[in-house]
């Protein structure tokens, strides 16, 4: 196995294959990494219910085999969880997780040589509270009756305990304010080729649909991880057919184009009153600091410029905390949406950070979190 190769694979363990998404390959690959001492620990989601799972670090193979797999309504980010832990670890990662992990790697908070990143294709995630409301308002079903969910052909499908499927197009849901988180709509990293190995159901064809995972190896580490799972007897793989490879590329392209369109829709230029726009958006800030704590690219810790320059007794029109963070994130924001998720005043922080980050990152042709390239110096042009 080597970088660039693609496979279709599944877990050899019956229960994992049945319970896990797309044949349980990712779960089994992580379990094999632990079992064969390839890594010290693995990050998994411990499932509480259909809308809640908590990320944990574990070296218990059974915890891994019983984990939740991926859930669209659990929008967590794992980068900070493994930072500064000095662990040899394997973990599943959406595109934004991978980008956070790489950014932590640049800041020496994660040793990427010891981190095996199993990328997960991602069309977007949903906030659990919004999802529950969406189920009641749009689908007319009780959240407690939901048994599983899937995204297929542009539709979000919920399966209820009575075996029935309930499908609505994502476009319709998002038009009504439901569906994916805003940052997921304009994200363009749908297949995480910045991970060691990218996994997902796009490109699985024929009888294997829903029962297998399409895998693309992105690095030597990724090849070793998959080979280890095969050698350990946890996973079985075969070469994908050409139709599947083409289908996967097509879905990826369509999803990326959709992300670009959303980006244009969300980031309508502010013609006048830019300062007033930001000041108004931030006027309800209560200085909780959650946006910094959760930010997967921030590795400053408790003592940092944004907090040290800030005093709640200052009466500036915009706090130094936010000004420093706008500057810091101009070349570091990966648009993961975590800051918006946790803001107690519902400030659309990711959108605000991206208003600085989009032009800076486009001008520098620099995308944080995609590789180990360090950000180039950037200049700030002042209006005359």
């Amino acid at each position: 196995m080597q970088k660039g190769e693609m496979y279709v694979g599944w877990s050899t363990k019956d229960d994992v294959r049945k319970r896990g998404g797309s044949g349980g390959l990712v779960t089994s690959m992580l379990a094999a990494a632990l079992e064969k001492k390839f890594v010290d620990a693995v990050v998994v989601l411990k499932k509480i219910n259909e809308f809640e799972a908590v990320p944990i670090i574990t070296s218990d193979v059974n915890e891994v085999l019983n984990s939740a797999g991926s859930l669209h309504s659990v929008p967590s980010n794992f980068a900070k969880l493994i930072a500064n832990r000095n662990l040899k670890v394997a973990l599943p990662a959406k595109g934004c997780d991978v980008r956070g992990i790489i950014e932590q790697g640049k800041r020496n908070a994660i040793n990427l040589d010891n981190t095996f990143i199993v990328g997960l294709n991602c069309g977007g995630s949903m906030h659990p509270v919004v999802t529950r409301e969406m189920l009641e308002v749009m689908y007319k079903i009780k959240p407690e009756d939901v048994h599983g969910e899937e995204i297929e052909k542009g539709k979000l499908i919920f399966e209820t305990k009575d075996g029935k499927e309930h499908a609505i197009t994502i476009d319709e849901l998002e038009e009504k304010g439901y569906g994916r988180r805003e940052s997921c709509r304009y994200c363009t990293i749908k297949v995480p080729n910045n991970s060691d190995i990218a996994c997902g159901n796009w490109g699985v064809t024929g009888d294997l649909v829903g029962k297998a995972t399409f895998v693309e190896i992105n690095s030597e580490k990724g090849a070793k991880l998959l080979q280890n799972a095969v050698d350990a007897g946890y996973v079985q793989v075969q070469k994908p057919d050409e139709k599947g490879v083409a289908m996967r590329a097509k879905i990826k392209g369509v999803m990326e184009d959709l992300g670009k369109k959303w980006k244009g829709k969300v980031f309508v230029p502010i013609e006048n009153g830019r300062l007033e726009y930001f000041r108004k958006e931030l006027e309800h800030c209560i200085d909780c600091g959650a946006c910094k704590t959760v930010c997967p690219t921030c590795s400053c810790g408790d003592v940092s410029k944004c907090t040290e320059y800030h005093f709640r007794g200052d009466a500036y029109k915009m706090s130094m905390y936010h000004l420093v963070r706008f500057l810091h994130l101009a070349d570091a924001c990966i648009g993961c949406g975590q800051c918006s998720d946790v803001c107690p005043a519902d400030i659309p922080l990711t959108r605000l950070y991206r208003r600085f980050a989009n032009p800076v990152q486009e001008q520098l042709k620099y995308e944080p979190g995609m590789d180990m390239q360090k950000p180039p110096y950037f200049e700030v042009k002042l209006n005359e």
């Binding site: 670090i57 200085d287 009466a315």
Partner: protein, 469 residues
């Protein structure tokens, strides 16, 4: 190795914010985005929880002992008589039921129900669902949401987005409100049956002010909801409805008079609310707690912190929420003091019966009786002071936790009149004491200083002060 992660509720107030506490050598806060009360969002206090949960040690007169020994010694000293029992509601319903059994006739939840009409008990105890706040047409705030109950803010913003008008009856203009009325001009407030009044109720509430707000709502046919400052205030009030309660003021009076010599505090730091000179008059201060307390206790009975406990909390809405831990050391200690073991399941059943549920489900708010209360005669008067220092009670004050709040707010005219210098300080004198503080210019009313920190010169919520450069 597997992470210890606890699904828990923030103890900062009675809003019922869900979160995870992760034990990773140090404590870390993680966001529980599926929590119905807060969608995983936390305020500054919630983000500070690792600082709050400094572990406590069991001690008797300064000597470290086991929990069991501390509880036995507590039982001995309580049995000598003249004992009072205080719990503001910072712990589970199950512990509170057990606590009432231990307390017998002298129970204090801090709230002064005695001074308020009996038919307002339920209204004061259980608030309305947050979804009803979001659906309101006119909201009147008798609180500062930014400082006191920050997670209410997003509900207010949601209501505003849907067209609600928000009026603040407060000493400072706030961005969420389109109209601000001075508390002394409250007669100008126009309420209708479409109005929703949001106030708060706590051990330091002025009963006349509470009556006044209740009367305003009653006279207009408006709805009213009270927010509360402790994790299980609602549970504490609901469960002690039929118990003979004494107010905090009565307790302080009894300690000062010497009729109470032993005070047993359950998960409540008395130094946050009871003057130190009063506490020093006690023969025995006994604190049962899961976190280190700033009060100097003769006996500390230390057990697991709230996030490790097994049990149920009830939030402002009346929503029953299960804590994710398994710890019952607190109940065990109460059992030693009572002389007979408390069974968790029996206590849990009595809680369910009390609020009429068959199982705890955080996604369903139990149906509570919300009886109308009768007409109220209110006699609240605006304070007569030339310049007042307003103490805005908030979680950092209730828990004696450090915050970035060492300043006062005042308006520009005051700053100009006193010729205050930017970056300089302001001298504040009251009751013979003098302090010097940094200041922040904010849209505060004339002759008012606002603080969210305890400076030690306060006498209640509004303190008459003199100020100078």
């Amino acid at each position: 190795m597997t992470d210890n992660v606890y699904s828990t509720i923030c103890p900062g107030c009675n809003f019922g914010c869900g979160l995870y506490i992760r034990e990773n050598g140090t404590l870390e806060v993680d966001f529980r985005k599926s929590s119905p009360a807060n969608a995983g969002k936390l305020c500054r206090f919630g983000m500070s929880l690792p600082k709050l949960y400094a572990p406590a040690k069991s001690v008797i007169d300064g000597k470290e002992v086991t929990l069991e020994d501390a509880a036995k010694e507590a039982a001995k000293r309580i049995s000598a008589g003249s004992a009072a029992f205080l719990s503001f509601g910072n712990t589970t319903c199950e512990e509170l039921v057990a606590f009432q059994k231990v307390a017998g006739s002298y129970l204090c939840t801090g709230a002064n129900f005695e001074a308020l009409p009996k038919d307002t008990y339920q209204t004061l105890s259980v608030g309305i669902p947050y979804s009803e706040i979001e659906a309101a047409k006119h909201i009147v705030l008798f609180i500062d949401p930014y400082e006191q109950y920050p997670l209410i803010l997003r509900r207010l913003l949601s209501a505003k987005k849907k067209g609600a008008k928000i009026t603040a009856v407060w000493w400072k203009s706030m961005p969420v409100a389109s109209e601000t009325i001075k508390p002394s001009d409250v007669s100008k407030l126009a309420l209708t049956k479409d109005s929703l009044v949001i106030a708060d109720f706590h051990p330091l509430s002025d009963s006349e002010q509470v009556k006044s707000v209740l009367a305003l709502a009653k006279n207009a046919g408006a709805r009213i909801t009270f927010l509360k400052p402790f994790a299980n205030s609602t549970g504490a009030y609901l469960l002690s409805k039929d118990a003979k309660q004494k107010s905090l003021a009565q307790l302080i009076d009894d300690i000062n008079k010497g009729t109470i010599k032993t005070l047993f505090c359950l998960e409540s730091d008395p130094s946050a609310l009871i003057p130190s000179e009063t506490l020093s008059k006690l023969t025995n201060l006994i604190i049962q707690t899961g976190q280190s307390s700033s009060a100097k206790a003769n006996i500390v009975i230390a057990h697991e912190p709230l996030y490790k406990k097994k049990g149920t909390l009830i939030n402002n809405e009346g929503r029953a929420q299960a804590l994710g831990g398994a710890g019952t050391n607190g109940l065990d200690a109460l059992g030693i003091i009572a002389g007979s073991k408390f069974e968790f399941n029996a206590l849990h059943d009595s809680l369910k019966k009390a609020i009429g549920i068959s199982a705890v489900d955080e996604f369903t708010i139990p149906k509570y009786d919300r009886p109308a209360y009768g007409a109220i005669q209110a006699a609240a008067k605006p304070p007569e002071t030339k310049t007042a220092l307003l103490s805005v009670y908030n979680p950092f004050m209730w828990f004696n936790l450090a915050d970035d709040n060492d300043f006062v707010e005042l308006n520009l005219n005051t700053a100009k009149a006193l010729k205050l210098l930017k970056g300089g300080t302001l001298k504040i004198k009251s009751n013979g004491a003098s302090i010097e503080k940094k200041f922040k210019v904010a849209p505060v009313q004339e002759n008012v200083l606002i603080t969210t920190r305890k400076f030690g010169i306060e006498k209640g919520m509004l303190t008459s002060v003199e100020i100078s450069r």
